[in-house]
Amino acid sequence: MSKKKKIYYARTYRRIKIDMKMSILFTCLLMIPSLIVFILNIDTITQKLAQITTWVLSQVFPKESITVMNSEYSIFGTMQYVELPTTYPEFSTVCINLAICFGIYLIMELLKKTGKPIGIFLLYTVLVHVVNCVFFVFGGKEFPYTIGEYSDLYIKQQIGIWITFIVLASLVVGFMGRKAYGYKLLTFMGIMLYSMIFGAVRYIVFLFLLHEFSVLYMALLFFVIGPMFDFSYFVAIYAIFINKIIKEYDFGKRKGEWKWS
């Protein structure tokens, strides 16, 4: 009879003892100052973002007039965004896009991929883009956004993402595991830093695409490669944190901290 090399702790009712007051305090210390600093500096942050974006885009489009605009955003005060001349799609481009969407749908049907998660995600993407295309077939002049207005929307959306991330990241790391404050802080910083960098890069890329290839792709960029992708890397960084915590508690120095009710 083979013998077990290792006997694992019974998982059924195990738990850890956390200092609830310290966890709440740590969460608040992570969340509240970050929120205050962020909200008080929205103008500065968006100004820097706009400056970087303007600089990058002026290298790509040296002849275009690229300006930084101000806008009021409810209680958050002033925020800044980049204004670019709007490029509208040619009718032939709209038709080609519609044909491509139809082609993607047909291929997925033929490959029987429409019922799979990636297929459903792609169908959603295609649907959003088709609606945008149809809008330009029948009422292109009525399209409600210029690149400047989209840019304004994007910054507002990004502010929403950053505020949500500060709150959510503080909560999900703040109560996980006993102490481990270093890991928690690192995870929080990692999420926010990645979000800042990714948000900025995406802003530049989106404005480039909209100006270069027209506002036909606006809804696609806004709905499909929007907040959902931010949450993917949020969860990915959180997963690294959890894996580290699991290692600490099952194989590391914290393995003696398990309680059984």
Binding site: Y124, M176, F231
Partner: protein, 419 residues
Amino acid sequence: MVVAIIKGYMVFNIILILIYVIRHFLFGINRMAGRQRLYYNDIYSSKMKSITVLIPMHNEEQVLSYVLDSLLECDYDRDRLEIIPINDNSSDRTKELLDEYHKKYEFIRPLHRDCPDRGKPVGLNDAMQIATGEIIIVFDADYRPAKDMLKQLASAFEDPEVGAVMGRVIPYNTNKNILTRLINLERSGGYQVDQQARYNLKTIPQYGGTVGGFRKDILLSTGGFNPLVLAEDTELTYRLYTSGWKVIYANSAECYEEAPETWTVRAKQIRRWARGHNQVLFRYFFKTLLTPHMNFREKLDGILLLFVYAVPFFMLLGQIASLVLFFLGEMNLFAGWWVLLFVATYCSFGNFAPFFEIGTALFLDGIMGEVFLLPLLLFNFYFYMWNISLGFLDAIADIVTKRKVKWAKTARFTEKKKV
């Protein structure tokens, strides 16, 4: 006016989903750091309860020997045990195989059903009529109960308040592909954290239709399972609570199941669950609100649990509403705040358990590595939202047309046991 309604709907959606996020967050904290409510593991009775194990089967020749052999290994007094495999209109060798078992073991008494009304609820109803045990334990045919499973499940019924008990389900084919791995994450979050936290907090642990049991007399006195309801398990949970009984969760009673290995099978399963669960929502919403047998906490959680399979449909409408607002040029107000909708959706319904709940479960289960799959739930979110919404619409169509539901079995993937 229309824009105002859509905006109002968006606000409703955001609030609703935030409530679920808070609920699951509290579950996670409670399970990780709260005092755990133990199951009745230490109860030993000199006279075991007489039990009947029912195993609904439809063309289960591939898997039936696994579940029966596992049950034969179970530690339970043979004179207090009866096993009734319900052969429900099988066209494969299920009947012959079951008869062979019957020849070897007298207490395995197959019920062969050969009639047009196929389905789990009617099959269980017929089997309960001939069952001799006072407690009914149910397993699906693809399950593999552990040796102490029957003893564990039966011991809860020493408590006269307990109407049903539910054990923990763990997939055994987790390494098969990405789908089975993701289902394993869901199951971990759903049982290790969600069910146990609900048990800790004395809200509504749910009887799941398999790896669980109930008192036969309650079911028979209330007319048996309703064949018009696909989620007979959820229906039983609410029937018991609204009549003053309790459902108990046994986290220690671990049983292994076969997780679906293809997305097509999973989609059908999820759609069926959503349809059944929403049928129960329509039948029990007011009963749950008005019953004198449930306290405020149970009612609150009971209502939230009832809506679990309706919320993805609300979210789908939310996505459509946000598209409409976008093309009407009315997105300005929501540009920052609709993010909350996404946070909440991803947290709550990217899967059956939010990512932080699954993270907590994997931490408690001590499962390293698998946690890196969490970001893939992004794609599952659309998959579930779509299929659950279809199930929700099915349930509405059931109510409107009063059509008879048809039971569909989940396809099996295990290779037949070699004798």
